[in-house]
Symmetry: C2
Subunit: 217 residues, 2 copies
Amino acid sequence: MQSFTEENYLKIIYHLSSDTDAPVQTNAIAERMGTKAASVTDMIKKLADKQLIIYQKYQGVKLTDTGRRTAINIVRKHRLWEVFLVEKLSFKWDEVHDIAEELEHINSAELIERLDEFLAFPKNDPHGDPIPDKEGKFDSASFIKLNKLKINDQGLVMGVSEHSSAFLKHLEKLGLTLGKLVKVTDITDFDGSIELLVESKKINLSREVAKHILIKA
Amino acid sequence: MQSFTEENYLKIIYHLSSDTDAPVQTNAIAERMGTKAASVTDMIKKLADKQLIIYQKYQGVKLTDTGRRTAINIVRKHRLWEVFLVEKLSFKWDEVHDIAEELEHINSAELIERLDEFLAFPKNDPHGDPIPDKEGKFDSASFIKLNKLKINDQGLVMGVSEHSSAFLKHLEKLGLTLGKLVKVTDITDFDGSIELLVESKKINLSREVAKHILIKA
DNA sequence: AATGTTTTTTAGATTTGTCTAAACTTTTAG
DNA sequence: CTAAAAGTTTAGACAAATCTAAAAAACATT
């Protein structure tokens, strides 16, 4: 078994490598972990010794199959706990991240299988992210980012790619929650701000915000 | 906030001092923690610095009010999680201790209050132990140990004072679960073994086992 | 009260995860 | 293609929690 810290490194490496095939760089990990690059170097040596990542000096790291499996399992636990917190304990979607960061390290396969069943095997967490199954499989649903839509395009809000409380509260206030149908009515020439119709209400979004909203056409 | 380790020390000191007023000894803590006395000395110095315990060299330790409040809060979390595991996730009463040992360190007051509400404010955990309320108050229900009963005495099984899986499975097999009515029908001269009637079934208990069963007359 | 046993503490070492400062690679730009 | 900038690693140190071995205090017993 790994320590909490090792698990957090694996999770971060997983998230940083999920888009691209490129190796993950020391500084990127350090920034996400809130540590210094020197500390990251120490830790990745340790993870490489344990065959959880492949590491070449100065060249960044990649997860091994074992490492990826471990990381996905942590993600699975995180997302299931988030569902529990929202569905069963009535937390809001912007309140659950930090608690789930702690709960994801609880160590009992049996617990997670039973929690999964208790929650009726949810497919997505409260932010729309897919929940891996016991074997680590999940649809890597390829949604479009809202900032890629053109005028008159429409679609359903399926998820977000930013989980900060500030961002989620902002969406909540705008009425932009999961499942909502949106239609792009205008895109400003000046800074690319997007004008949307959500349930016949007109709202305005910065491109920065739009970038983190995932849409199914 | 304290580390997991500090929390575990406080919890153990609390349990070791709940019966008596006497200071808790270094060796007793070491045994429960599964560490050596020298390590305990180091840690109790640290806890004393933080004003969580009162420590006099060679004289053992006592909890301060703050220390006791902290310890009781951990006990509260532990027992609420045990209720959750048994009531909601269908774990057996002998399977929940270790998982609750991990969950008790999750750090969110809001989470615990909502969990308490979700579970409909239970008064006791699956082993009959009382669950402290938000303020740390709980009835220190004074039950009798089964080995104190005399022939023809009867009462209800209200709890256990031993939480090992082996012990609990044994009780389960005997049908000695919470709420059962028992009546002492005989006590062997030889070794003090106790013969009981439980739901019109005759069973035999060693004194050692009986000592850990709590009865309300 | 003296002596032996038990308990506790001290001293010094180890492991884990972190840091700073300095050295070393790799990348980027002129 | 070379020099500066950016990124990474090494070296040495530190705090937390533990350990072993040895010293010190408390206790128990004749």
